[in-house]
């Protein structure tokens, strides 16, 4: 039987069937729901049936590949005999995908750092009400410093009897987190300053912020990373060496700061003039006006925009492979070329895709929730 018959036969019969049951009101709940949702016209019925057929056709092979024909047990390539996915590959390489070339025996240090940092971030929720006003200070200044020290002493090591691990060995998903965490923390204040600078009355401040923003927004991240890798060392005094990871984080931070600045500017512009005038009439100066009146309102408005920028940041981190840092996607490409494990690129990409999807999707859902929470009628 030719393959198109298996598509068109059910399509035509289904359409005829749906055409006959298309009744204005039948009193049967199921039928009415069906008519209302997928069967409003012949065209709609055809589309609905096509989608149902496509789902039926694609679910079976996908299910086979993912679960039924897949190999879950074993520890070498030889265990994978089925026609489905070889999850043994992911299992064997799991540590590499998560921690890169970080020595196996030392991986507890990465885990410990992440748990502590996550704990510190969550600690903000349990602050006693009395100290709530220091929360911003805690998140913007204290937390970055603590996390930096933690990463410096615990992950990098070299002191307190911990073995030193060079940044070149860091990698995998943990590197994705480190890079995006720091870029995220630093790009926010810089972006805020740039946004204020762009709206400033002072010509020099305004135009320097403007050209800074437009410059970073006009070039692709990959060229910025190239710049940090090959051009930046030329701009430093001979003999100085800045760690590759730090250069990358600075590059990504400046890049994303320009985008954050534009988002925050949108929020600043959306505030009515009356807010500025009212604050000024109370005798507030520039900084008090902005910190106490304008920014708290503007930042609420731009939560979705900022979340989108952060999402873009997380999705951009795989690009650091151009300077030789291997985070999750980079590690996949390395594992793919290992002669013992040739031919499993599909499993690797599907695995990484699922992980990134979970991270990004939950972030976007969380931002939607925040948006609803902070929605105030003005």
């Amino acid at each position: 039987m030719p393959s198109f018959v298996s598509f068109f036969t059910p399509l035509i019969f289904g359409m005829i069937g749906l055409h006959f049951i298309r009744i204005e009101f039948s009193g049967i709940k199921f039928l009415d729901e069906l008519n209302k949702n997928i069967n409003t016209s012949n065209f709609n019925a055809a589309l609905s049936i096509s989608i149902i057929i496509l789902i039926i056709f694609s679910v079976a092979p996908l299910l086979n590949w993912f679960i039924l024909d897949a190999t879950f047990f074993g520890d070498s390539k030889e265990a994978c005999t089925g026609s489905g996915a070889c999850w043994v590959y992911i299992k064997t390489w799991f540590n590499r995908f998560m921690y890169g070339m970080y020595p196996n025996a030392e991986q507890w240090r990465v885990n410990a750092t992440f748990i502590i940092v996550l704990g510190l971030m969550a600690a903000g929720y349990f602050f006693p009400l009395k100290y709530k006003k220091y929360l911003t200070f805690y998140y913007v200044i204290l937390l970055p410093i603590i996390s930096f020290l933690l990463i410096y002493y615990l992950i990098s090591g070299g002191e307190f009897g911990l073995e030193w691990v060079e940044t070149g060995a860091w990698g995998g998903l943990s590197l994705t987190f480190i890079v995006s965490f720091f870029s995220l923390i630093f790009c926010f204040p810089i972006g805020m300053m740039l946004a204020l600078g762009r709206r400033s009355d002072l010509a020099v401040v305004k135009y320097s912020s403007l050209s800074f923003i437009e410059f970073w927004r006009g070039v692709p991240l990959i060229t910025v990373l190239f710049m940090s890798a090959v051009m930046f060392p030329m701009f430093l005094p001979d003999g100085t060496y800045v760690d590759k990871l730090i250069r990358v984080i600075v590059a990504i931070t400046l890049f994303e700061a320009a985008y954050t600045a534009e988002v925050i500017r949108g929020g600043l512009q959306a505030l009515p003039r009356g807010q500025y005038d009212a604050a000024k009439s109370l005798g507030m100066g520039y900084w008090r006006l902005h910190l106490l009146v304008i920014l708290p309102q503007a930042l609420k408005l731009v939560i979705p925009g900022i979340a989108n920028t952060f999402l873009a940041l997380v999705k951009d981190t795989p690009l650091i492979f151009v300077v030789g840092l291997l985070e999750l996607v980079g590690m996949l490409n390395l594992a793919k070329t290992n002669p013992k494990w040739l031919g499993f690129s599909m499993e690797g990409y599907v695995f990484a895709g699922i992980i990134f999807w979970i991270i990004c999707y939950s972030m976007s859902k969380y931002s939607q929730k925040l948006e609803l929470k902070f929605k105030t009628d003005r």
Binding site: L47, M234, F321
Partner: protein
């Protein structure tokens, strides 16, 4: 009071000058110690490397300047194809997300939520290293539409060989000019006499018939060159003739299109949702047909909401096309910031030129779109 205005400006200026001065001084020193002289003279030197895929004549004996041009054209090619395809797909998905049909609606939102939450680089790798590698070798490839072959080495389609292509092109341009003046005329007629012409049909007719005439009158002729299997060695086959589209281009276009279309779809949805229900009801109540409501009332207003963010997406797509370097599609970054820089070692000049090129492209597109945006903006009285 005056120092309050001058002091911050002075400090900013000082800061900028200090940073730039520091960098320039160091760069000067570093280049002196390495014996490199700043300059763009290297652009006219022989490049002596080959490029896999190029739109213009190129070989290793040509200059670095020519290699730059090849890379730039490749970047523009993939951006152009990507922009067109993602606009079409994005518009379809955006409309589908508003469909009352539950299945269509859910399928469209599944597509959007799925493709935009996976890093673009990963998608490019997936298509290139996983999906396209599963295609058959050239000798086993099945025939598609009786003329094309989809193989692991790329897509081979028939290529047109034109006689008197310039006559055909002139006819196309003339057709566009005629359409422009016809539309102007029709608009004036409608405003003066209320008479309506089927503008779209007539325009389409002119666009098809005028160039088609040249086949009979202008001596224009097309011969199709079909790809044919050719044996290179015992187990190595390839196709000759026809048009060979490299898998790098296919993977890159696919990934860019699927990724960017999700964002465009969201813009389209927001644009259509942004039109109040009252607008549609008012239009219907003065007797416009549903098609007219869409064409005359909804779309012109929705476009105003859709175009600015979509321009941003076009810019993003163009900038994202630089990820081509990861799968060795010879775009600007790979050819120039990659190979050419390795060979010449002129980091500052080459990265500078590359960034300046992207900046120029971005600023040009945004200027054009600003102009267009102003044209369609509401003219308040």
């Amino acid at each position: 009071m005056k120092y309050k205005k001058i002091l911050p400006q002075f400090l900013t200026l000082l800061f900028i000058i200090l940073i730039f001065g520091f960098f320039t001084m160091n760069a000067q020193e570093n280049m002196d110690t390495r014996g490199i002289e700043f300059g763009f003279g290297f652009l006219s030197k022989e490049a002596s490397f080959d490029i896999q895929f190029s739109l213009i004549d190129y070989d290793g004996s040509m200059s670095y300047g020519r290699a730059y041009l090849v890379g730039l054209l490749n970047t523009l090619l993939v951006s152009f194809i990507g922009i067109i395809l993602s606009t079409i797909l994005g518009a379809v998905i955006g409309v589908a997300r508003l469909s009352p049909n539950y299945l269509i609606n859910k399928t469209a939102s599944f597509y959007v939520e799925f493709f935009r939450n996976v890093p673009l680089l990963l998608q490019i790798f997936f298509w290139y290293f996983a999906a396209l590698r599963a295609l058959p070798m050239p000798e086993d490839a099945p025939l598609i539409f009786g003329s094309s072959f989809m193989t692991i080495k790329g897509l081979y389609t028939p290529a047109p060989i034109w006689n008197n292509l310039d006559v055909f092109m002139i006819a196309l341009i003339v057709a566009m000019i005629v359409i422009y003046f016809f539309n102007k005329f029709a608009k004036r007629k409608q405003e003066e006499e209320g008479k309506q012409y089927p503008k779209f049909l007539i325009s389409l007719g002119i666009f098809v018939i005028l160039p088609a005439l040249t086949f009979f009158v202008g001596g224009v002729d097309v011969i199709w060159s079909f790809p044919e299997l050719k044996q290179l060695a015992k187990t190595s086959f390839t196709y000759e003739g026809g048009l060979g589209i490299p898998p790098e281009l296919i993977a890159l276009t696919l990934a860019l299109t699927l990724y960017t279309a999700t964002f465009i779809a969201e813009n389209v949805r927001a644009g259509i949702q942004g039109i109040g229900k009252g607008q549609k009801e008012a239009a219907a109540s003065i007797g416009l047909t549903p098609g007219q409501v869409l064409k005359l009332v909804v779309l012109p207003q929705a476009l105003r909401i859709i175009i600015p963010p979509t321009t941003n997406q076009y810019l993003n797509l163009t900038k994202n096309s630089s990820l081509a370097a990861a799968i060795a599609y010879p775009d600007l970054v790979l050819v120039f910031a990659g190979t050419a820089m390795m060979q010449t070692g002129r980091a500052i000049e080459i990265v500078g030129i590359t960034m300046a090129t992207y900046l120029t492209i971005s600023l040009t597109i945004s200027l054009f779109m600003n102009w267009y945006n102003k044209r369609i903006a509401i003219q308040e009285k």
